[in-house]
Amino acid sequence: MPVNDLLQRGTHVMTVCNACRYCEQFCPVFPAMEQRVTFSAGDLNYLANLCHNCGECLYACQYAPPHEFGINVPRTLAEIRLQSYQDYCWPRALAVMFRQHSLATAIALAFAFTVMLAVATALLNPGALTRDASDADFYAVIPHGVMVTVFGGVFGFVLLALWIGLARFRNQTWSESAKSEKSDQVSFRALRDVLTLRHLHGGGVDCATTEDYRRPWRRWFHHCTFYGFLLCFASTSVAAVYHLVFAWHAPYDYMSVPVILGTLGGAGLVVGPAGLLVLRTRRDPALGVPERERLDDAFTVLLLLTSVTGLVLLFARHQPAMPALLVVHLGAVLALFVTLPYGKFVHGVYRASALVKFAREQAAEQVATRVS
């Protein structure tokens, strides 16, 4: 759908909602909307990224299709949100390309990186792929310096791209901000909302799978994914400190901190993404954007691929297959990293930023109410 039509529909939807307001205690979208009379592109992108897609407001809506007003807030905001990922992304051309066939591209990238790593290793480090791996020494396959350079470089690029995206998001949505109040307490509130996914059960009940079916699983699988990701990140960070500061070199014992963190995180990243993929097939299609436009699957599948290959690698690290498994795992990780700024991952960045903005606006409104 052309961007202008999308924004026009967003404005129509928010105008109806703002005249109704029955949904105001479901989630932050509605109180945030009530602080506005008109809806600019920035406002709509802010509201769209504030929406957690819990689905409550569609089922509660007296104007939902087939009513002639045709109000479907979750879907409309999902469409605007998806468009916003592309608009804020850097470089945009990559986001546009990635979106065409995101799942196929993601899998192809993982495959391509695996092949590239295998070929490079075979050429530059002859015999490494067929070496006896009983020492579980990853760096004998791909030297530590090479890993740091490749992944450090990609990671740096990813951070830069995400940072530019966030700057663009803030630039558009925060510049048109209503009054805003900043304090530690406000930041804490926003952080709590991010970490607890409070708005996936803001209505006091869990988010809707279909009209009459509410279960906590979407929230729990997301928690598994999010905290699994954090644990894996922590594992890598601890290992880096071990390596650089203490000169303790991998492989680490099964009961060592990096391996425990990585195993727990990996388990989370198997259970979470797998659960989310299953739930997605059961969710009312009215709540989201049409299948072909989705970015979720690519990100989720890459997470799953990374965690599964990582766990297999861990438990087979003394086996002859280790060098091959390592190359496959690193190929998956590279594909995951490279696509982070262009896929579903960015929702975390914009959602968090929107929640901070929301907390500040609400605080400012409370101040204003107290004064008057």
């Binding site: 703002n18 109704c20 949904c23 509660a60 809506c61 007296q62 209505g203 006091g204």
Partner: protein, 459 residues
């Protein structure tokens, strides 16, 4: 054969069905609307009025039964059936808990700014959410629900119910039962019936709620000898945006701009005091006022100085920088409108404008005067909204007793026919409205009717 046949699919109907089922009766609900539009006018509601002795999670402070009763009598007048009104008030207090047990969710009583936070419990997500919860509970407890079931006739043995004649997908079928609960609403969406009362003016009415409240069952019961109650000509109507859909526009089509400016008819003339009283007490007179204007149309005109003081409208304002340009856009006689606004502006007396009280800003020497909040319309752009009468509900109903049984012409109750909701609300509410009362009557009498019908079926 079901024990209880419930005719209707709104709040009262589902409360009756759930209660009857709970009492052990088998139950079928005949809802005329398709599934997407189930729930009658209840899907447009937002809250329920209930008495409570102390603050609760849902309600601030306290609202005594006496206070509730007084509020009801103040608008409804002395003709109200006091026994039934007392019953509604007394049984209102345990409604929220009863509803919560059936999956209904309420808002937290957070927003002190809402004037109703003390008297009314607000549904989380509004009335459609309530109906979703009830229908889910109905499915869970084994109540049969038939959508698209248009009851076109009743098979009665004297005053005793035998079966409902249902038309569905072009076929007719009999639905038999040992007792019936009729909770099928009023007749406000029956354009033909409205025309009999209002003449051709009715064609310009907008129906705020469901198109399915055609009063078929009300007519069938009255024709079968049920005693009528309430003024057959009366309806509750407010000013809605003239661009609203003919049916089901619900809450968003109302306009709260009237006290902030002037209202003119199609001749460009003012016709009523826009600042007569606080808006919540006056909004319901404007439906009738506009219904009596030529073409049943009027225009609320404000200027830019009051932007943001009223709830945003769902329809875009019609704006213009000059009176003549506005007249052109509204297709009103320009000279006449200019004179009206000039005369109005000249008649405004100095005062301190405060929309939260009956202030001293008024006009002098006009016919009619604006007695409060009168400010000159001189800050461009001028902003206008077209208005039409928007009918909410009708008052005519069937007389019932405190067991919700339909009272027949001979004064005896029908043995196995109960009525609940809007179809009998006229027993309690003769005129006017207090916010959230409709849902209270529906819930209380739905439950009473469900108990009664179930106990009859078990005999």
């Amino acid at each position: 054969v079901h024990d209880v046949v419930v005719i209707g699919g709104g709040n009262a109907a589902l409360c009756a069905a759930l209660t009857a089922r709970m009492a052990g009766a088998t139950c079928i609900v005949l809802e005329r609307a398709p599934r997407e539009f189930r729930g009658g006018n209840s899907r447009h509601t937002r809250n329920l009025r209930c008495a409570h002795a102390a603050p609760t999670a849902l309600l601030e402070e306290s609202y005594t039964e006496g206070e509730f009763f007084d509020d009801l009598l103040r608008v409804s007048g002395p003709d109200t059936d006091h026994v039934l009104a007392r019953l509604v008030v007394e049984r209102s207090s345990d409604c929220p808990a009863w509803m919560q047990r059936r999956g209904v969710r309420f808002q937290r009583a957070l927003r002190g700014t809402l004037q109703l936070a003390r008297t009314n419990a607000f549904f989380l997500g509004g009335g459609k959410s309530v109906m979703n919860a009830y229908y889910a509970a109905a499915a869970q407890s084994g109540i049969d629900v038939i959508y698209g079931a248009d009851v076109i006739g009743l098979d009665l043995d004297g005053a005793s119910f035998r079966a409902a004649i249902v038309s569905r997908d072009g076929r007719e079928e009999r639905v038999e039962g040992r007792a019936a609960v009729v909770a099928s609403g009023g007749f406000e969406s029956n354009l033909e019936w409205l025309r009999q009362i209002w003449g051709a003016a009715a064609d310009n009415f907008i129906v705020r709620g469901t198109p399915h409240n055609t009063g078929t069952l009300l007519r069938l019961l009255l024709d079968a000898g049920a005693q009528p109650v309430g003024d057959p000509h009366a309806c509750h109507a407010i000013a809605v945006d003239a661009r609203a859909p003919k049916f089901d526009g619900g809450i968003v089509t109302r306009l709260d701009t009237i006290p902030f400016g002037i209202v003119v008819n199609s001749g460009g003339e003012r016709f009523y005091d826009e600042g007569e009283d606080m808006w919540p007490k006056r909004y319901a007179v404007w439906g009738g006022l506009i219904a009596r204007q030529p073409g049943q149309i009027a225009y609320s005109i404000v200027d830019a100085s009051v932007t943001g003081r009223f709830m945003p409208s769902v329809f875009p304002p019609i704006t213009a920088d000059s009176v003549s340009a506005l007249a052109t856009r509204l297709e009103l006689p320009a000279a006449r409108l200019e004179t009206t606004i000039e005369t109005f502006n000249r008649a405004v007396r100095p005062g301190v404008c405060d929309y939260t009280v009956l202030d001293d800003c008024r006009t002098e020497g006009l016919q009619p005067n604006k007695t409060h909040w009168a400010r000159r319309l001189d800050t461009p752009p001028l902003v206008a909204y077209p208005l039409r009468p928007g009918i909410t509900f009708t008052y005519l109903g069937t007389r019932v007793d405190e067991r919700a049984r339909v009272i027949m012409a001979d004064g005896n109750p029908a043995p196995n026919i109960c009525a609940a909701g809007e179809i009998m609300a006229g027993n309690i509410l003769r005129q006017g409205y207090v916010a959230g009362l409709g849902m209270t009557i529906g819930t209380v009498f739905g439950r009473v009717a469900g108990e009664e019908a179930a106990s009859h079926a078990r005999e």
